[in-house]
Subunit: 283 residues, 2 copies
């Protein structure tokens, strides 16, 4: 190991990724998880939950723009948007970029929001203070069960399918999400690494296909995650994300004055193009 203080993340599949640290800023144990905030030379400040890097100042836009803009542009008029998880605020912030939205965020762990606002304010960029947003500290599983028919879009911005997050990847939850969605509603969720967590991705897509008629997986870069590539999946009752025209996307971004750094009309469509070896694992 080279000299210096390194944050090293080990994956079960025999892989480590590490970043040289400038500082370890915070360590906190909540009733739900262990949290750490580190400051790295390459990625800037990063949020770590239970030993897994969740987001970094440097690359958060890649993850959050793809999780949010792809589904919100697919739905022609999403107003009632539910965010489950996402305590760093990067998802909520991109939902608020769309001026017609009135989002509700349900995060189980208040301390993720508190520490993210304190140490990583550039990620939420004031989203938690926006009067259009409502933020609840509650269990997303229960919230969804208790609010049928109330949302146009549900975004699941959770940790990986390990430990307490497992139910957020399973069929009973997706059935509840189906019920909480309007008749033209849709869900988008992070869906693991298509390179290193293939069986997780396959199981999640299988569970979504058991519930929703349209299920589409798309890809995007997240350099701070193992492998650098991440997948997202949209499960939809009516609107198909690959059928949204590029000109319509461009007009929408222009009208709503959204200038993403990762997402674009061309990226929207390119993200659904899967290399054959990835298409195969989802066939």
């Amino acid at each position: 190991m080279p000299p210096g203080d390194w944050y090293v993340e080990e994956e079960t599949f025999g892989y480590i990724q590490g970043v040289l640290l400038r500082e370890r800023l915070q360590r906190h144990r909540s009733p739900f998880q262990n949290m750490e905030v580190i400051d790295s030379q390459l990625f800037g400040r990063c949020l770590v939950l239970d030993g897994a890097l969740q987001t970094s100042e440097w690359d958060e836009f890649m993850y959050h723009e793809m999780l949010v803009h792809v589904p919100l542009v697919t739905h022609p008029d999403a107003r009632r948007v539910l965010v489950i998880g996402g305590g760093d605020g990067g998802t909520l912030r991109r939902v608020l970029d769309h001026p017609q939205t009135e989002p509700i965020q349900v995060e189980i762990d208040a301390s993720v929001i508190e520490n993210s606002q304190k140490f990583l304010p550039s990620i939420s960029n004031g989203a938690f203070q926006n009067p259009r947003a409502e933020v609840l500290i509650a269990d997303g599983l229960q919230y969804v069960r208790e609010h049928p028919g109330e949302f146009d879009v549900v975004l699941v911005d959770s940790t990986d399918p390990v430990g307490p997050a497992i139910p957020l990847f399973e069929e009973p939850f997706y059935r509840d999400v189906y019920k909480t969605l309007a008749e033209d509603g849709l869900l988008a969720a992070q869906s693991s690494s298509p390179l290193y967590m293939v069986s997780d991705l396959q199981a999640q897509v299988r569970n979504l296909r058991a519930v929703f008629p349209i299920v589409r997986t798309y890809l995007g870069l997240v350099p701070a995650y193992p492998g650098g590539l991440w997948s997202y999946t949209i499960a939809s009752k009516r609107y198909d994300p690959v059928r949204v025209g590029k000109a319509d996307i461009a007009a929408r971004l222009s009208r709503e004055a959204i200038t993403p750094r990762y997402y674009s009309p061309d990226i929207h469509h390119a993200a659904f193009v899967l290399p054959p070896f990835i298409a195969e694992i989802l066939s």
Copy 2:
């Protein structure tokens, strides 16, 4: 560091990536470089040159298919193809997938070819024994200077722009490549990480633009490389890779009986779609 024997690669930008090893197979010092062959749990066997992982059994198809098929499909009838470097044979093998080609490979270091054939035979998969291929142990810089007007396509499959490989990324070499190409010829080269080697990529594209009228950078996954994303650049006298029709690509692959695992007609076009933050560094 977790227990076990790890191959760890440190990047100057404060990043490490490591794979758990099953075995260290070979260590060799040639007149040109230090070479190592390792066997890892995640990537299988890997070739390491001067401390930088060059290719692995697991992901070599992603790199080699993108370096070769994109330019060879862009040129409507590439027969005379020059490969510079590429001692593992993965590039030569994909050139030979196109039945009309008669490739010449110029590799400076015979021991890379020898050790790759001995320890990583699945990568070249018999390419060096193919009677259509000619393999020369020579300096690519000199070879190009001495063979004007002889090639349809030149593929530069080199190490990164460090040490002895630096001239392969500079304008004088590109001027010689321009001369060695037919009047409708084109070059394709690996062009560094668009995430972590931005100034290398910018310099290379600037040098290519000084010589060729059409210069296009495209992206592809290479999980074994830092960041997981790699860039390639085509520099062309006449044919523009973004103007090749998808149906034409599909017909070509079908006619030539090529069944890639990463490349496809849709991937050909998606690869040229750059996220705005990458397009900006090339503007």
